[in-house]
Amino acid sequence: MTVPANPGGAVSLAPEDTAGAAPDEHTKDSVGIRALIFTRDRGLIVLWVVLLIVFSVWASPFFAKWSNAVLIANAGALTAVYAAGVAAGAISGALDISLPGVAALAGVTCGWLLTHHVSVVVGIVVALAIGLAVGVANGLITLRGFNPLIVTIGTLSATSGLAAVVAGGYTITGLNQLTFMGTRHYAGIPAPVWIVIVLYIVLTLFLTQTRDGIRFMAVGGNKEAVRRSGIQSDRYRVLGFMISGFCAALGGLITTAVDTSANPAADPSIIFTALTAVALAGVALTGGRGSLPRVLVGALILATISNALTIKGIQPYWGTIVTGLLLLAALGMEKGVETSVERRLMAAAQATVHSGKK
């Protein structure tokens, strides 16, 4: 009824928000402020819906179809997995650049194990463990006081080199054992989309509903506040890198599964696409705020745009141009909304103090 429970939490349910707000009349914000806050928190979803409607008309009759929706979701799935990793890092206050390297290393390691007659389960577990391990390494090095950006550039280099060593410099082919998480459909929906759904539900619940998740976000927002609450903040910073390493490894596995081959070359475009989705979602790179459902929408927007342009037979360069402009526009809008929300709320708070109403 007043402000949303938390700017990041798209999952919080509206009715329960009334509990704390009921006794305070002056906290009931005006329609204007509520509209502004809505734009800030849900604007991206509105933008996506608008895009969907526009494309449905523009690229009709091929765009607005279930089969095309599945196509978009599948195309956005990989971006979404990496974006979740980048977002987790960003929320904890660190930009993790090492994702492409970790993805390549995880994919290639799993591929190498599978060609050496190791079971699929072990291959996947080892690959994901590599992601977590690189995350721990990134985290522990960063805790020593080094800039996370530089540290992860270092691990990016190291892991992509390692990937090439493991694969002997060549792409490992014929990995048909992983199709169950690559090209196979379940209930009409491709496996990568299912993975994204599960990943996002788990991470969203973690960040918004659990003690460790809330502390994790708090550490990103203000380390000092958390430390003074008697909580060890260091492990939460390492956790951010672990989540992002895990997501990178998962992305590498999905790529390997879809291609049925593992390419040791790290693909740097991974990080930029993911970062675009994260930035569209308004996740602050300074840490402490961000909502995973919005990151998912960000990834879907990118997939939606490139899908519509493909249907219309427009050259893909235009997709990149549109995405870039969209990102800049989103930044501008966010800034504008944020400042006007704050100004109006401040004014309201001052007014109640000075008029003596309690």
Partner: protein
């Protein structure tokens, strides 16, 4: 153990930085329900003394007793465990999180099992508890779901104070160390914070207030201690002194009460 002993008592505190005596034989105590204002010019040793109390600095010599029991603080964590909380000027609130989350950080209420086993937080109970704690202190800020970044400066200060207050009111009421709590506030907000400090003291919390603001000290404190170049110049009940006397001690124009 009786609660007749002061909540916090420092005796014979010396603090040397090389040849510089930052603190020279300071005795200081604060009882439950007392607000002691610590006044002094820049460099008089107020902040150093506060840091000794908060465990950030270890004194060269001297003893610290909490509720009559001698303690040694090796870090701010030790003093926090002993029930002494520092309220910093920079507040240290998590901007993007709401009031309830900020107040309950570090002592979250979990849901009932099985979700509780997974660490799920009972947000409704947290809001209720926060509201109750603020009500007990007589504080109205804003809805518990309001993110801190959307609060005014005064409201933030109130939230930060309330958070510290709720942390020290354990089995023994603890001590709050306040460093210029109203430095960044306007007139009305300063009044709110003053009222809150008085109310916290009436709940049995001991408060140590470091400030340059003489009217603030006169308004909220029950006793005033003046430091001058590392020595204690005065220790008087607030109602037995006035601005002129205090200014004299602060500037050193008036001889120390404890002149040997």
């Amino acid at each position: 153990m009786t609660d007749a002993a002061p909540a916090l008592e420092l005796s014979g505190i010396d603090m040397h930085y090389g040849y510089v005596r930052a603190l020279d034989q300071i005795d200081f105590r604060v009882a439950n329900g007392e607000v002691v204002a610590l006044l002094g010019d820049n460099g008089a040793g107020k902040s150093t003394l506060l840091k000794v109390m908060s465990g950030a600095h270890r004194p060269t010599t001297g003893t610290i007793k909490v509720h009559g029991r001698e303690m040694e603080f090796h870090s701010p964590t030790d003093s926090t465990h002993a029930g002494i909380q520092m309220v910093y000027q920079d507040l240290a609130l998590v901007e993007a999180q709401d009031i309830a989350t900020n107040l309950m950080l570090g002592r979250e209420i979990l849901r009932k099992p099985p979700l509780g086993w997974l660490g799920f937080v009972d947000k409704k109970a947290q809001r209720k508890r926060s509201q109750a704690e603020l009500d007990r202190l007589g504080v109205r800020t804003a809805a518990m779901t309001r993110p801190v970044e959307m609060l005014s400066g005064g409201q933030r200060q109130v939230v930060a104070l309330a958070r510290s207050a709720t942390r020290v009111s354990g089995e023994h009421n603890g001590v709050l160390l306040l460093d210029e709590p109203t430095a960044a506030l306007g007139y009305e907000q300063t009044k709110q914070v003053e009222a809150l400090i008085v109310r916290m003291a009436s709940h049995g919390i001991g408060c140590v207030l470091v400030t340059h603001n003489l009217p603030l000290a006169m308004a909220v404190s029950t006793r005033i201690v003046v430091l001058n170049r590392g020595r204690k110049y005065a220790d008087v009940p607030t109602d037995q002194t006035d601005n002129d006397q205090l200014v004299g001690w602060i500037t050193g124009a008036r001889p120390s009460m404890f002149a040997a």
